[in-house]
């Protein structure tokens, strides 16, 4: 009796349909979430893995500026390494003679090529400064001073949202 029932069932076997409606809903929600998270981002940037940005309550979005990055190992301008950091000192950036540094020369030429001479539109932020939170002010000060001397006195300090 049992065997005959089994035989009958195997004859009328219908392959089950995969219900993908709920999975489609889930994917749609994830896709919308990801697209929205992209929509309010001004631009993407790559950061070094060892760079630790400070946390802040600041809510201001950064603008498309000149990117200046100071990590514990290097100084980068627009993604190009222009100096190395050793024991809190930037090689190639003499605090006593900042006008001879690569940073000063590059920023100066950027400013001149853009026709953006010092003195005009000084209220507009020009440099997005991303700096490792563990660095002492002694190291940062030389970079900030060199940038200011090159005609960029206004900064946006990049921080992580707390």
């Amino acid at each position: 009796m049992g065997l005959s029932t089994k035989t009958r069932h195997s004859k009328h076997f219908v392959p089950p349909k995969l219900q993908i409606t709920s999975m489609m809903d889930m994917f749609t929600i994830i896709l919308i979430f990801l697209l929205f998270s992209f929509s309010n981002k001004p631009e993407t940037m790559s950061l070094q893995k060892d760079l630790k940005l400070p946390e802040s309550t600041a809510n201001l979005d950064y603008k498309e500026n000149i990117n200046l990055l100071l990590s514990q190992t290097s100084l980068e301008l627009e993604g190009k390494v222009i100096g190395t950091v050793q024991n809190g000192r930037i090689i190639g950036l003499d605090p006593q003679n900042l006008k001879t540094s690569t940073l000063y020369e590059r920023l100066r030429s950027t400013r001149e090529s853009a026709g953006d001479l010092p003195g005009d539109d000084s209220t507009k932020p020009h440099i997005l400064f991303l700096c490792d939170k563990r660095l002492p002010f002694k190291t940062i000060n030389s970079v900030v001073k060199a940038a200011a001397m090159a005609g960029y006195p206004n900064f946006q300090f990049g921080v992580l949202k707390r």
Binding site: K17, I20, M23, M24, F27, T28, I30, L31, L34, L35, S37, F38, K41, T44, M45, L47, L53, P54, E55, S56, T57, A58, N59, L60, D61, Y62, K63, S122, P125, L128, L130, C131, D132, K133, R134, L135, P136, F137, K138, I140, N141, V144, K145, A148, P153, N154, F155, Q156, F157, G158, V159, L160, K161
Partner: protein, 168 residues
């Protein structure tokens, strides 16, 4: 079955929409978006460094009394003071005080806020703060000081922050 019934049975057959291509598209899009999504939200703090500038003539406009707060971040704590064109030296001396670290690690940010709050309450037109850190002070401490000095409980204290090195 009637003629109409037979007609319906032949024309209204249940059809399943083939969702497989849509699923395939989603399966490609989602990993791509996940790979390029950033989980860190970078924000910015506007600041500037002191520059030589020509002083603006006041003209006949009535100037409201305001101070420029100065916070020196020293290894031992904060040194708060003020400068102003419109306030007398005696009054400015009242705002000169040191906030010493009680704990060797943590800076007394609450006391700094209280001090700046008092200054802002007395001179509401004040909006500029100069931060002068010692060379050994780490960047994180400077940002924390900027945070508490700019806003207190959604009220703006000194939103214009100037970062300066110590002279001399």
């Amino acid at each position: 079955m009637s003629k109409l019934g037979r007609h319906r049975a032949t024309t209204e057959q249940q059809t399943d929409i083939d969702m497989v291509p849509v699923m395939n598209m989603f399966l490609v899009l989602i990993p791509f978006l996940l790979m390029s999504v950033s989980f860190f939200h970078i924000k910015a703090i506007n600041t500037s460094v002191p520059m030589l500038a020509q002083s603006k003539a006041a003209g006949h406009e009535q100037i409201r009394e305001k101070l420029t707060a100065i916070v020196e971040i020293e290894p031992t704590g904060f040194h708060v003071s003020a400068i102003s064109d419109s306030v007398g030296a005696e009054e400015l001396d009242k705002w000169d005080r040191r906030i010493v670290k009680e704990d060797k690690q943590e800076y007394p940010l609450n006391k700094l806020v209280a001090e700046l709050n008092k200054m802002k309450a007395r001179y509401p037109a004040s909006d500029t703060l100069i931060i002068i850190p010692d060379g050994s002070v780490i960047y994180d401490t400077i940002i924390q000081a900027m945070d508490v000095a700019r806003y207190y409980r959604n009220d703006s204290l000194f939103p214009n922050v100037v970062l300066s090195g110590k002279v001399g």
